[in-house]
């Protein structure tokens, strides 16, 4: 009962903030509304007893991605004219995209055989994640880190280029 109330409150926070991101006329407001969406997701992870994932979500999305997005928005030229950058684009194409996305999601939700799992809350979530990363899923883990390394080198190359000229 209590868990359900908390879940719906968190879901309302997430969906409400996401709606604000999409519908706000001011692009900086949209970016700050992302904070609510990320925090709602953090809350849902905590509700699901995935505390490590929740903290990483907070560290990476709020501390990293949100701040980078804010930098990008604030340092863009003509930001004083916030209303210009966020005009509505073709409502017809948007309607088609949203319709296709919703029908695919609904199809997936309806066709999935949902089953109630036995609730076992692990006391130490980090051990399981660590063992899985360095055991069973070591190859995907290493490939992902290789992708990140390539992105890092790419960023350095791009920023060095201007200096040389």
């Amino acid at each position: 009962m209590l868990a359900q109330i908390i879940f719906y409150a968190l879901a309302a926070l997430t969906v409400g903030s996401s709606a604000l991101v999409a519908f706000s006329r001011n692009i900086v407001h949209s970016t700050f509304a992302l904070l609510g969406a990320f925090m709602g997701v953090v809350g849902i992870y905590i509700l699901l007893a995935a505390d490590f994932v929740a903290m990483v979500q907070l560290l990476v999305y709020v501390g990293g991605i949100l701040v980078l997005t804010l930098f990008a928005v604030m340092l863009t030229a003509g930001i004083a004219d916030v209303t210009v950058s966020n005009r509505a684009v073709g409502s017809g194409s948007a309607l088609v995209t949203v319709g296709v996305a919703i029908s695919v999601m609904l199809y997936a939700v309806v066709r999935t055989p949902w089953h109630q799992g036995t609730v076992v809350v692990p006391s130490q979530t980090t051990y399981g994640i660590g063992n899985a990363f360095l055991g069973e899923y070591v190859l995907p883990f290493e490939v992902a880190s290789l992708v990140l390394l390539a992105a890092l080198i790419g960023a350095i190359v791009i920023s060095r280029h201007e200096v040389r000229e």
Partner: protein
């Protein structure tokens, strides 16, 4: 704390509504801790800091309100509450009003995992230290929000500087936590403290040379993240008026600085937990309550020593330039932190149970350095005005 409440609940004192009562007790206790410890601490630190600076600069400092000026922080608080709350016409009112709350939220949240003693902790989270470092990320959002919503060039520059600084220094700070996590295999605050002993040679500070360097990097990075001099570029008075807080007045202005002073305790608590043995003290009595009080005192003495050190640093060092700040972070701290991490991993692989001999050598070295330093300080104190220094109640 949780186990205490669970024991009370399981004893059947509250009957059927046990879980509701437990929840209420936890909420009330956390409110008492946050309102009764965190905020007065931030206020008192503001007074202590002004007195310490004054003494270091051969002045007297605030000494009029109450005994030795102790009630100065209350007077300042009342003054700020009474001030007019000005919201500039050209600002973005919603974001302008929200920003101070986010900054205060980022200061209040870490207290949930503050390990005051072996049983005095609100929630011994499984991911405690990660929680502590990640909730402070909310500060960046609040500061950026304040900087942008003020619609003022000083504020925006201050906000952007602060965000760049915090995001950069989060990397060496995060990497410096890894050596300790590698040695303990846990992220829980209490777990990390339990892995250390009460004697200095059993602290992680002296566990091996790499953790010693990591502790120093973490402390400096935490000062940079907390916008403390010599890294207080975001609110550099001589360049940016008051940085991101320029347009704020009254209580909203005070909120930013309350968070800054309060963060000193959090910085000290992180270092104390990770490297200085936390609340560990010798088992001199079997009485649980007395033991907890002792641990509380030990923890607070260590934290307050670090808070004092940060005041000393603030009164001593001049502000760095922005390029020096970034140079320090990216060219020195980040590579050294990586070396620390790999070095600790190798050390743990060679000596899984730690190297006791190294602990004694490092402790001896630290004592020699500390003695030389104190001799030097006494030498300079002798050369200056004695009556100021040896009479603390001027």
């Amino acid at each position: 704390m949780q186990t205490l409440i669970e024991n009370l609940v399981n004893a059947g004192t509250f009957g059927k509504n046990a879980s509701v009562v437990a929840a209420i007790v936890i909420f009330v206790l956390s409110a008492v801790v946050f309102l009764g410890v965190a905020f007065p601490f931030a206020g008192i630190v503001s007074w202590v800091e002004r007195r310490v600076w004054a003494r270091i600069q051969s002045r007297v400092g605030p000494n009029r309100v109450g005994p030795n000026g102790f009630l100065q922080w209350l007077a300042d608080g009342v003054k700020h509450v009474c001030k007019e709350d000005i919201i500039p016409d050209d600002s973005d009112p919603t974001l302008f009003k929200t920003a101070p709350y986010l900054v205060v939220l980022a200061f209040v949240l870490p207290w949930a995992v503050m390990p005051f003693s072996s049983s005095l902790i609100l929630a011994d989270l499984n991911v405690g230290i990660l929680y502590m470092t990640s909730v402070t990320a909310l500060t960046v959002v609040g500061v950026l929000m304040a900087g942008w919503a003020s619609n003022d060039k000083w504020s925006l520059i201050g906000g952007i500087r602060s965000a760049a600084q915090i995001v950069s220094y989060e990397i060496p700070a995060g990497l410096s936590i890894f050596p300790v996590v590698l040695m303990t295999g846990t992220l829980s605050m209490q777990g990390i403290i339990r892995a250390q002993g009460w004697a200095p040679q059993h602290w992680f500070l002296f566990a091996n040379p790499f953790t010693f360097i990591a502790a120093n990097i973490l402390y400096i990075s935490a000062l940079a993240e907390g916008n403390r001099t010599p890294f207080d570029l975001p609110e550099a008075e001589s360049e940016l008026v008051a940085g991101f807080a320029t347009e704020y007045s009254g209580m909203r202005y005070l909120f930013f600085f309350m968070a800054e002073w309060g963060n000193l305790f959090i910085i000290g608590a992180i270092i104390t937990t990770l490297f200085l043995g936390g609340w560990q003290c010798p088992h001199i009595t079997k009485n649980v309550v007395l033991m907890n009080v002792l641990q509380l005192i030990v923890f607070n003495v260590k934290v307050l020593a670090l808070v004092f050190l940060s005041m000393w640093i603030r009164a001593t060092l001049p502000r760095v330039r922005i390029d020096q700040l970034m140079l320090l972070c990216w060219k020195y701290f980040v590579p050294i932190s990586f070396v620390d991490m790999i070095g600790t991993a190798v050390w743990v692989a060679i000596w899984p149970d730690g190297n006791a001999f190294m602990g004694y050598i490092m402790l001896a070295g630290a004592i020699v350095v500390a003695v030389l330093f104190i001799q030097r300080v006494i030498f300079y104190l002798r050369r200056s005005r004695m009556e100021m220094y040896f009479n603390p109640t001027i």
